[in-house]
């Protein structure tokens, strides 16, 4: 992709630019968390030997402190790590499973297609949050339950789109040519067709990141998060459990939710923008 095209795209796609900018900030916060964060996010801070509960916003505590005396700004910055970890891992898993199954169903057709379509229908019949709750309760609550649930339940959306794309790709002349020269099915699928559908898969991945983060937040809020991880969801649960709303402690419960919102929104914005970049024909309507 030439630089001029990218530049033109950035100018014509303010949404995507904003989305990328938000991601840049979050990634920077995650990478530099130890240096930027003024305090240890888990430390119980004290003012004059007394635990600093509900300290107001100040130069020392940028966003004040929690009921337990932890620095909110530091938790917020460290929360970016958890968000990226959960989001990226789950999105990668969703895209990998969805693309693989979509590719198999679309290219091989026949009974493979039938079985996989039925499987997708069954998965779509499992309610998302309740399934995550039950799995978390019956195994071990924590980040991995979220990642596993997201990848087990969200692949059908990606698979469906990839499948229909593969259905049209496999009729193309170059696939026929590859077959005539003696390429195996495996080679055609993974060497010839896969690269063609990867951009589309990435598009679904950017939305799946958001889903995973929302899922982590909901799980934490319902008490099935990992209490040892500093995440935005755990922060919100802490604030809710300590009645931060009745105290009007906006500095506590507003920022983590806003951070989640921004990150999920950025995913939507990038996917809307990249749709034009990846599929120029669609955008001209």
């Amino acid at each position: 992709m030439r630089a001029s095209r990218i530049r033109r795209f950035l100018a014509s796609e303010p949404f995507a630019v904003v989305g990328v900018a938000i991601y840049a900030v979050i990634i920077a916060a995650a990478l530099l968390a130890d240096r930027i964060a003024p305090h240890d996010p888990r430390e119980i801070l004290r003012i004059n030997r007394r635990i600093a509960r509900y300290a107001p916003m100040s130069g020392d505590f940028w966003l004040g402190t929690t009921a337990g005396g932890a620095d909110i700004a530091s938790q917020l910055i460290h929360g970016a790590r958890a968000a990226l970890e959960v989001g990226l891992t789950a999105a990668l898993a969703v895209v990998a499973i969805g693309t693989l199954l979509g590719l198999l169903a679309g290219y091989l057709g026949g009974w493979v297609d039938k079985v996989l379509t039925r499987l997708a229908d069954i998965v779509l019949g499992l309610p998302f949050l309740p399934t995550m709750l039950v799995l978390a309760a019956l195994t071990r609550p924590g980040v991995w339950t979220v990642i596993v649930t997201v990848s087990l339940l969200l692949w059908p959306n990606t698979a469906r789109v990839i499948r229909s794309q593969v259905l049209s790709l496999r009729e193309r002349a170059w696939v026929e040519a590859a077959r005539v020269t003696g390429c195996s099915n495996t080679r055609i699928m993974f060497v010839h067709i896969l690269p063609q559908v990867l951009p589309l898969a990435a598009l679904y991945g950017s939305v799946a990141i958001g889903w995973a983060i929302l899922a982590e937040a909901a799980a934490s809020f319902l008490g099935f998060g990992d209490p040892d991880v500093v995440s935005w969801g755990v922060m919100l649960q802490d604030a809710y459990a300590n009645q931060a709303m009745s105290r009007g402690a906006w500095n506590w419960f507003a920022p983590p939710g806003a951070a989640i919102l921004m990150m999920v929104l950025a995913g939507f914005m990038i996917s809307r923008g990249s749709e034009k970049l990846l599929f120029p024909k669609l955008g001209d309507k």
Binding site: I122, G125, L126, V134, L138, L214, L222, G223, G248, G257
Partner: protein, 326 residues
């Protein structure tokens, strides 16, 4: 149409059966002693054996499975551990609350979303569009329970206009479904949870409606209507919107199924006594028969609504030629 209907019904039954079986396996084949999931460790040995026999847990797994399926067919979900009541009674008590919350919010969200989406499409490129689209995207990006927390902070704690949770005022009792629907107190308690859910849900119909309207507005019959000098309202609502509604109707049915399960968090924030909260409480207190019942009920609603969406799509879209299906 009959053929499609039968085919979809058969498919529906198959998915329901698989989901029920998966639930059975999920609750019984987890690592550890499955009976521990169903029997509180605090019971003494004699009570345990008696209860095991009562619940049929002393039988082999395949026999338990057939008993379970037979009970499901009778609408029997067993007894709750903690509240000495049949699970079905507890569920049927909570389901109407969830249904009212979901239906009210969905109808409001789709009414607002459809009208707003149609108009935004008509004013493509305007400042209004530039403001509405990011807002709609943002409400879809926010965690639902956080929206609820914000509304609670403002309208319940700061302004004191609405109650902070529950479905009845302190001292009141929750009567039958009809009593609830006729009580002002119930609706007053419904305001904030319903507002939260509406805010969260309106983004999808708005964006969908806008996208399909943009397609429809390019069609020739709209140009024709414009040339006839029809008013803007008439063109948008009577000519274009009708044709753009199809994906939105499908999304509505899917949304109804999905939000019964998704309400879990909103019901928790507002302590709304619905089926999602029953599930959360049951899971937290290891009341597995109740959790299993609530899970199956939520899943069944989802599966049925998925089928309804499918059928609605087939019935409404003339391009999906129903009769000619191979």
């Amino acid at each position: 149409m009959t053929r499609l209907l039968l085919e979809r019904l058969g498919h529906l039954l198959l998915v329901l059966w698989v989901v029920a079986s998966l639930t059975f396996l999920m609750f019984r084949l987890m690592p550890g002693d499955p009976t521990l999931n169903f029997l509180s460790p605090s019971f003494d040995e004699a009570t345990r054996t008696a209860l095991m026999r009562n619940f049929g847990l002393d039988k082999p797994l395949w026999e338990q499975y057939f008993i379970y399926i037979a009970q499901l067919l009778h609408g029997d979900f067993g007894m709750s551990f903690l509240q000495a009541q049949p699970v079905s009674v507890l569920l049927w008590d909570a389901l109407p609350n969830t249904a009212v919350l979901t239906v009210v919010s969905l109808v409001l969200a789709y009414a607002i979303g459809i009208v707003a989406g149609a108009f935004i499409a008509f004013r493509r490129g305007s400042a209004l569009e530039a403001a509405v689209i990011p807002t709609a995207l943002a409400t879809r990006s926010a965690p639902e329970f956080w929206l609820g927390m914000l509304l609670l902070a403002v309208f319940a704690f700061q302004l004191g206009w609405f109650p902070t949770g529950g479905a009845v005022s302190p001292g009141g009792t929750m009567g039958s479904v009809v009593d609830r629907l006729l009580s002002g107190d119930f609706w007053w308690h419904l305001c904030l949870p319903a507002l939260t859910l509406t805010l969260f849900l309106q983004g999808l119909p708005l964006l969908l409606m806008r996208a399909t309207m943009l397609e429809v507005l390019n069609d020739e019959f709209i140009t024709m209507a414009r040339m006839k000098g029809l008013s803007r309202w008439s063109i948008v609502m009577r000519h274009a919107a009708r044709n753009a509604l199809l994906p939105v109707v499908t999304a509505f049915a899917l949304g109804l199924g999905a939000s019964i399960g998704g309400n879990v968090v909103i019901e928790t924030v507002f302590a709304w006594p619905g089926i999602g909260r029953v599930l959360v409480n049951a899971v937290q207190s290891a009341d597995y028969p109740l959790a299993q019942g609530a899970f199956i009920m939520i899943a069944f609603v989802l599966v049925v609504m998925n089928t309804v969406a499918d059928l609605a799509y087939a019935a409404l879209d003339p391009r999906v030629s129903v009769g000619a299906r191979k």
